[in-house]
């Protein structure tokens, strides 16, 4: 049974194996989260801990028409994320 627990048979298994690990979550509206995965369900509702949120906005300079890319970051201790905004969840990068 222990062996079976570590195999990825369906997509959500990948997320199950990332429990208590730092994950990357991409959301609608150019939002990204990095934090420790504490809970999820089949809707991809998620609870993350020690979360860094990055919001990327693109403004167009009125005179030069150059794109100005701005990123706003903030930290949140614990965050519940509603699943309908989630685009992807990626397991931690192992070096």
């Amino acid at each position: 049974m222990a062996e079976e627990d570590n195999t990825v048979r369906e997509p959500l298994d990948l997320i199950r194996l990332s429990l208590d690990e730092k994950v990357y979550v991409k959301l609608k509206g150019e939002r990204e989260l990095r934090g420790k995965l504490h809970a999820y369900d089949q809707h991809l509702n998620i609870i993350l801990g020690d979360v860094e949120e990055t919001v990327t906005t693109v403004e167009i300079d009125e005179e030069t028409f150059e794109e100005i890319i701005k990123t706003n970051k903030r930290m949140v201790p614990y965050l519940f994320v509603r699943g309908d905004g989630v685009i992807l969840v990626s397991p931690p990068l192992r070096s």
Binding site: A39, I47, G49, P77, L79, R82, G85
Partner: protein, 93 residues
């Protein structure tokens, strides 16, 4: 049911709900239902200068589908409990 059960344990605690229109409301969690609709009491809007239209509102019902985030009070997050409940839910579903 995991998050419904979890939010029920937060009743009476102060949470900040961030909506998909960027409005953020802090209030005392009064109740929650299976759709994760939320009722908040004694609310205040986080950025009142930008959203002055909510100043007279004390209590509100928030439809679950318009919620983007809920900031949870750090003291009421039992990480081990959440891991166990998540693994149980993953097996059952």
């Amino acid at each position: 049911m995991l998050f419904y059960s979890y939010f029920k344990t937060l009743v009476g605690k102060e949470v900040t709900v961030e909506l998909k229109n960027d409005l953020a409301i802090t209030g005392t969690l009064h109740s929650v239902d299976q759709y994760l609709n939320i009722k908040l009491n004694s609310i205040r809007v986080v950025n009142e200068q930008k959203y002055p239209h909510m100043l007279s509102v004390r209590n509100c019902f928030v439809r679950g589908s318009v919620v983007r985030y809920v900031q949870l009070p750090p003291g009421s997050v039992d990480v081990e409990l959440l891991h166990d409940a998540t693994r149980r839910e993953a097996r059952g579903g």
